[in-house]
Symmetry: C2
Subunit: 341 residues, 2 copies
């Protein structure tokens, strides 16, 4: 079934069918209704590829999502998609593995689809100027910043929480609940990723309260996986270091931390408290319910899309929006009597 067949069936020209399909105003409503009914009946699918190539300006916004099994990103994505559509743009989505190159994927997409703008949902914190020079449209880093890179403030836009301060807030909640021997389960302490930033927040909280940082209480798991987090806790327990609380990098890792503690006879929160960052819906279903710093996922997606579209439509300048992570109290943190040493 081609556009010619549709035109023949309707008794009109090919260009009239094309105008009707593409929503152009120079077709009467009656004629458009008739043509679209035939298109529907014949299940005709227009060939957008040819159209995309011919069009000089498009309404396409690319979204590159890094990580195919990140539950947090799927919440952010939904909000971003709604905003993009509500403002009359078309979203073109690419989902890539967590280790893949989001910049190259974005650059290819930009050329293939004549994008007006790019939203990166997850990515590296250490882009260089040279590296980002392949992107020729406005872009927004969503959920991360260029903390470890050499981009200037005016070179890019970002929407995220302040990861360092969210981690500090989480650990201070433990300290205010009387804990002083606080372990950390992180991916890495100096990996130039979100893990390093959150680890720095952990250290900042301890330092601010005069608690020495004890490297024997830090488990570097080398990944964001649950199995690695579980083994990290086993390693901490094997060292026989005393600790009454654990700061976990993410909700998923915290779920594995709670499991490992429980499996080794430590009750949460009676024997050990656990806190994390993310606020996934899942965190409401762990036993006990996870106390966590909630990232405003929907707001993050919406603001990132709005910021990008402001730049695309002209007038908007690169900006950096920091959102607040809020404590979502659960049942995994217990108040203990403070030891005055």
């Amino acid at each position: 079934m081609t556009i010619k067949d549709i035109a023949r069936k309707c008794g009109v020209s090919v260009s009239t069918v094309s105008r009707a399909i593409n929503g152009r105003p120079d077709v009467s409503d009656e004629m458009r209704g008739k043509i679209l009914a035939v298109v529907e009946e014949c299940r005709y699918i227009p060939n957008n590829s040819a159209r995309d190539l011919v069009r000089s300006s498009s309404d396409a916004i690319g979204v590159v999502v890094r990580g195919t099994s990140n539950l947090f990103f799927s919440q952010v994505l939904r909000a971003a998609a709604q905003k993009i559509e509500a403002r009359g743009f078309r979203m073109i989505l690419r989902q890539i593995e967590s280790g893949a190159d989001e910049v190259k994927t974005g650059a290819i997409l930009e050329r293939e689809k004549k994008l007006q703008g790019l939203l990166f949902l997850g990515g590296r914190f250490d882009y260089t100027r040279q590296e980002m020079s392949v992107i020729n449209v406005p872009y927004v880093c969503c959920t991360y910043t260029n903390w470890f890179g050499d981009l200037g403030e005016e070179d890019y836009s970002s929407v995220s929480i302040d990861d360092q301060s969210a981690a500090r807030q989480a650990v201070e909640h433990l300290i205010c609940s009387g804990h002083r021997r606080i372990a950390a389960v992180v991916a890495g302490c100096s990996d130039r990723s979100i893990s390093e930033l959150r680890y720095r927040g952990y250290c900042a909280a301890l330092e601010a309260h005069g608690i020495p940082i004890d490297s024997r209480l830090v488990a570097e798991t080398g990944s964001f996986g649950m199995a690695e987090a579980y083994r990290g806790v086993e390693e901490l327990l094997r060292r026989e270091e005393e600790f009454t609380a654990v700061f976990a990098l993410s909700d998923m890792m915290a779920m594995a931390v709670i499991k490992a503690l429980t499996d080794h006879g430590r009750r949460v929160p009676q024997d050990c408290s656990v806190i994390a960052i993310d606020g996934l819906p899942l965190s409401n279903y762990t036993i006990p319910t996870l106390t966590t710093l909630e990232q405003p996922a929907a707001q993050m997606g919406e603001k990132a899309a709005a910021l990008l579209l402001d730049m695309v439509e002209g007038g908007g300048m690169p900006r950096h929006i920091r959102l607040e992570a809020r404590l979502q109290p659960g049942g995994s943190v217990r108040r203990v009597i403070k030891n005055r040493e």
Copy 2:
């Protein structure tokens, strides 16, 4: 930076650069190395869109994933992607919301990218022949079948478990452990989805063991969500019907079931057993560890891709592969003394 700039820098013609980039044999290895080094140095991104349109035959396989936050699909996808690449094809991925139209997405992708084949990861069980006539390339339904539709066996291919028999196996495991009052938490009993099939398996197991089906023990939640599963259990408890075990539609729903039971003072498995289907990595981190029927995710993705590529490369006929779901014993099912009535 255009292909002309690259050609100028290398001192060769545009067509030589093009042949080098596209891996054609009529360029010396030395020349290819030199050209690719310049491409890399200049961070040149080829415009594939124009190339795709000109090429008459392509090596593109489309994969449409339905549901953006399905952890099971991300495991299947990884295996399928590996197989597609290992056999020298290019994967083009589209992720759509769980309510979106995967057939239309696939049909558009087929035309835009001149696909050789399509893999649907998740989709409706009730396609009609007319509906599927928009797909003109071989396709495989991965994780589902046309159980409720009117396609012939020879019209399409599929790779999945037998959902009805997996559910029956799960419920029989409960029956063999001495349970007779078994509740079900499903999305729907007659929604022509995977939920209806698994509900039928639940009924079949009860019937085979002479246990009457009691509709008061069935919670239809209307969705695959965790919040709805939680409320479904609360509704069961409110009815004050006695039950000693719950069959949950999926691992994620089972996690919410365990939470609801625990929150209402029923210990799992001492007071109530729970079993599900999926075998997500997550099911190893619930408390207690979930007893579940594991779908072979990696095998499913690999077999679906292999079946599709056999058809694409000629020779392969439409086939239907049923894989075994295997019991993954956890700690959520308790053996009880059988009441002999």
